[in-house]
Structure formats: C-alpha cells, structure tokens
C-alpha cells in the first residue's frame, strides 16, 4: 500500500463526504467533481488508463456539468429553511452504516485469500478497441442504442409542454 493510494483515497472520500454534507447545493456539485477526479486518479493508479481518462471525460466533463445545469435550472442553490436532511435521516444513516459494516466485515474476512501484488498488466488502446469490436461488439451496440434512447428520452422528458401555456 503506497502513500499515493492513501492520499487518493482520502481525497476521494473527502470529496464524497463533502458532496453529501454541505448545505449549499452548488458546493455539493463542486465537491462531487473532486470525488470524481479522485476516482479517476485511483483508476490511473490501478493501471487502467483508458477507464481513468473515460472517467475524466464522462464524469467531470459531462455529468458534473449536467448536475450544475440542473441545480441552476431548478433554483436548487437556495438552502431550504428547515434543513437539508429529510425527516427520516436517522434511519437512512443507520441503514448506510449497517451496509458499510457488512461490506467492511466481508472484505476484512476475505483478506487472507485476496491476491497480493501482481504484475502490471500492459493494455494498449488498440487491444481495447479490438476487444470492443470483437468479443464485446453486442454490448457495444446495445450501449449505442441505450445512449440514443436516453438522449431522445431526456429531451422529451425535459421539453416544455406548450399546450399548458395556451
């Protein structure tokens, strides 16, 4: 376990915590971007260059911008007077803590059988491209259809209904 891993893990977890705890919604979106960047760096630290840069492009470049747009369009930056947490926050926190306890227990139980440091896999973009149009061509096509459907669906869902204003 290198010092780089601990730094990146701390950055990612701090960004996630801030995204869920801050009161101002715009600050939450910015903290979310920090968490996404930390995750991308963790991917790069795991020698998954393609996934790391895809994470930067898709999450920091697109999803974070979409979230900021949605916050500004819904005037969500105004902090509500009666708190940012729901009335049943204690139950939600208890469920999340229980989930973390189970997951952490499972990981710590299986530490003995988890593999140790292995050789660094050498993966070129060419290999990924060949795999995408070879073995994984059907999922690729399905994702293409899904993205088209999501694009059209998001436009239709968010489109103004003109009839209401006549």
């Amino acid at each position: 376990m290198s010092i780089v891993f601990y730094l990146l893990a701390a950055l990612t977890v701090a960004g996630g915590l801030a995204a869920m705890l801050l009161r101002n919604t715009v600050h939450c979106a910015l903290a979310l971007t920090v968490a996404f960047a930390g995750l991308a760096l963790l991917f790069l630290n795991l020698d998954a260059q393609f996934a790391g840069f895809a994470q930067i492009l898709v999450y920091i470049g697109a999803v974070a911008i979409l979230v900021v747009f949605a916050i500004l369009l819904t005037r969500g930056s105004e902090t509500p007077k009666d708190g940012v947490f729901s009335r049943s926050w204690l139950a939600g926190l208890a469920i999340a803590a229980a989930v973390f306890a189970v997951l952490g227990w499972a990981v710590l139980q299986s530490v003995r059988v988890l593999p140790h440091e292995t050789a660094v896999p050498v993966v070129t973009v060419q290999q990924i491209g060949v795999a995408l149009v070879g073995r994984y061509v059907l999922p690729l096509e399905i994702v293409a259809v899904l993205l088209t459907a999501a694009l059209i669906g998001a436009v239709i869902v968010a489109m103004h209904e003109k009839e209401e204003h006549k």
Partner: protein
C-alpha cells in the same frame, strides 16, 4: 493488508456515503448525486478486481467498468431531465414536499 483489500474498503466507504446521502438528503438532485457515487464505487470495485485478478489481459473487468460508465451517463441525463420536469410541475425539488402521486 493487500492492495486489493484497500481498494475494496475505499469502494465500500464511498458506496455507503452515497447510500447515506441518497437516503437522507431532501433535494432530488443530491439524491441523484448519491446514486452516482454508488455507481462509481461499483466501478472502482470492477477495476480493482480486474487489476488484481488472475487474467487481466482478457479485459473483462475493464470492459464492464467502461460499459457501466456509459450506462451511468445515460442514467444521469434522464434522471436530471425528470428532476427538471418535476420542478416545473411541482415548483419544488424537496422530496419531503412531494407526497402526492397525482397532480
């Protein structure tokens, strides 16, 4: 502790943070942010298992993570479109205030 266990623990922590946020925040957009964090934690697991698995050259975990990123992007677009439409209809994104199925 092996490196894989460290990554799995970070992913579990991030998943729990996202779950806690999705269950406790009142703003619908922040609930979506929590769901995004959970999806990202799952991606970190996939990449970590790919890196420390027995056959990293077969690219299975990496491909799964890449497809998962694409699906999460589609989910974010549709989810935020729904939030904008709900805000236009109900004039609020406060989930505690949205307690009616109709109108």
């Amino acid at each position: 502790m092996t490196p894989l266990a460290g990554y799995l623990l970070v992913a579990a922590l991030l998943f729990s943070i996202g779950l806690a946020g999705a269950l406790t925040r009142r703003n619908a957009i922040l609930v979506l942010i929590g769901i995004e964090l959970m999806l990202n934690a799952a991606n970190l697991n996939l990449i970590a298992f790919w890196r420390y698995g027995p056959h990293p050259e077969s690219l299975t975990g990496m491909m799964f993570a890449i497809f998962s990123i694409a699906v999460a992007a589609a989910e974010a677009a549709v989810g935020l479109g729904l939030v904008i439409q709900i805000h236009r209809h109900a004039k609020t994104t406060d989930l505690d205030a949205m307690n009616r199925m109709k109108g």
